[in-house]
């Protein structure tokens, strides 16, 4: 199979990730830090070294600011539910994922309101102005995707974060599609929280995510329970990262994530970005030459996009195109709304959805060409089918 569904989760994983997961299951089968024996301590060391790797990737000195979560959604929920109180207002971008929209809809019942700032592709000034226009006296938090998971459009998040700080507003970055794919340095970034998946551009296993708390403001914990620390106390510890990590952690997943992050750091996010963007541009350019293929963004470029390309074939349902790519050509993509109906609404594709192809470091130019060749064949097959259906081939 040729895999272009890397926006959902990257596949394959680097061999070191696979080895680390297997090794953790077979050799680190102890609850980290809880029990006092050597295997328990070794498991705790694994968590610690992963925290160090993640902190270093984002330019941070303090590994305790790295909190492990189940996924990016859990990290975002921790910020949303842990920071916001009745009467607060939030601003989000018009390209957000349901991981942001749905918790905010739920928060409406608790007296939290939110506004949507329209993103204008290729015009950062307008996008920033739209954010500024949505600010209110009670705006507590801005949540902003670094890059759309559907269209790959990057937002001017550094400038939006700076604007937030000028206005005393907390800023949360959803880096689900950008962490490991583009360089991110949290030092002096003005970004208070970063949420990301561990299993996408960081190449860890599914079931891993990260919340980075880069702020003096710490959210309330979503869940409370055993942390292996302050066990005599009834109250949840306030110390980081324990405050947010109650219960037995995903040691095998985090062991894999550590190797995934090492893989990214060895290659360098800037090098990864350059390679993947080359492939994305190739994909976009080749698709743009196929009649009846609809593209929705400007050509993907360094600095303004991540390597995500969304398209449709005129007159065909996106799910049908994805099915044909899978069944006839062995190519995996994702179709539909990609859990981001707001982004589709913004780009006018909320009825049809789109076919999305996302590249990873494990894709190459030949695979891109196979994908575009397959799309070309599907267009021709569909033309023939339409002609037969309408009877025009008989004339």
């Amino acid at each position: 199979m040729i895999y272009f569904d890397n926006g959902a989760t990257t596949y394959p994983k680097p061999p070191a990730v696979v080895r680390a997961v297997c090794s953790a299951v077979t050799r680190l089968g102890a609850n980290p830090g809880r029990s006092g024996h050597r295997m328990s301590l070794r498991a705790a060391e694994t968590l610690f070294s992963c925290r160090q790797e993640v902190a270093a990737l984002f330019g941070l000195q303090e590994p305790e600011r790295v909190v492990f979560t189940q996924n990016c959604t859990a990290a975002l929920n921790t910020v949303i539910h842990g920071v916001l109180k009745q009467g607060d207002h939030v601003v989000i971008s018009s390209l957000e994922h349901n991981a942001v929209v749905r918790p905010l809809e739920a928060m409406k019942r608790r007296g939290v309101d939110y506004s949507v700032a329209e993103v204008v592709e290729g015009d950062d000034e307008q996008t920033i102005r739209h954010f500024r226009e949505k600010f209110r006296a009670n705006t507590r938090l801005v949540i902003c995707t670094h890059a759309s998971n559907v269209f790959g459009i990057r937002l001017p998040v550094e400038r939006i974060a700076a604007l937030c700080h000028l206005n005393g507003i907390l800023f949360c970055l959803d880096a689900a599609q950008s962490a490991g794919v583009v360089p991110i340095d949290l030092r002096n970034s003005g970004m208070d929280f970063l949420c990301t998946a561990g299993h996408k551009g960081l190449y860890g296993p599914m079931g891993t995510g990260v919340l980075i708390i880069n702020s003096a403001t710490t959210p309330d914990s979503l869940i409370q329970g055993g942390t292996g620390s302050f066990s005599a106390e009834k109250a949840q510890p306030e110390v980081l990262p324990d405050k947010y990590e109650s219960g037995t952690p995903n040691v095998a997943g985090i062991a894999g994530l550590r190797e995934g992050v090492r893989f990214v750091r060895q290659r360098g996010a800037a090098g990864i970005e350059q390679y993947e963007m080359q492939l994305a541009r190739r994909l976009y350019n080749r698709l743009s030459r196929i009649e009846r293929v609809l593209l929705y963004t400007q050509p993907p470029s360094l600095g303004t996009h991540v390597p995500v390309v969304s398209f449709n074939i005129e007159g065909m349902d996106s799910e049908e195109v994805a099915r044909l790519l899978d069944e006839r050509f062995g190519i995996a993509v994702r179709a539909g709304l990609h859990c981001a109906p707001l982004a589709h609404q913004t780009m006018g594709t909320n009825t049809l959805g789109t076919v999305r192809a996302v590249v990873s470091v494990f894709n190459n130019a030949a695979q891109v060409d196979q994908l575009t060749g397959a799309v070309n064949k599907i267009v021709k097959l569909n033309e023939k089918k339409v002609a037969i259906d309408s009877g025009s081939v008989l004339k």
Binding site: P32, G33, R34, G36, L41, A44, E45, L47, F48, R51, E62, P63, E64, G228, S229, F230, S231, A232, E233, P237, V239, L240, P241, D242
Partner: protein
């Protein structure tokens, strides 16, 4: 020889402290915290035999949170 224990609220702080001390030439060993000091601890401490004041100063300077320091006779 007298042992000094540096106590921590989290494993992460303890491991970060251990690495920092090692980098600065101060030897320490990870040990289970004795019952008498376990309240307010992550359950592990660093045993430091020499340079305890310098070690604690270093941790403070790097803002690594320490729950306390205890002198114990034997472990």
């Amino acid at each position: 020889m007298e042992n000094n224990l540096i106590l921590f609220g989290s494993m992460t702080a303890m491991m970060r402290a251990r690495d920092l001390l090692r980098k600065n030439g101060i030897r320490s060993a990870t040990v289970r915290t004795p019952a008498a000091y376990r309240r307010g601890s992550c359950g592990y401490s660093l045993r430091v035999s020499r340079d305890i004041d310098r070690a604690v100063g270093m941790l403070k300077q790097q803002r690594i949170p320490v729950s306390g320091v205890a002198a114990v006779d034997a472990l």
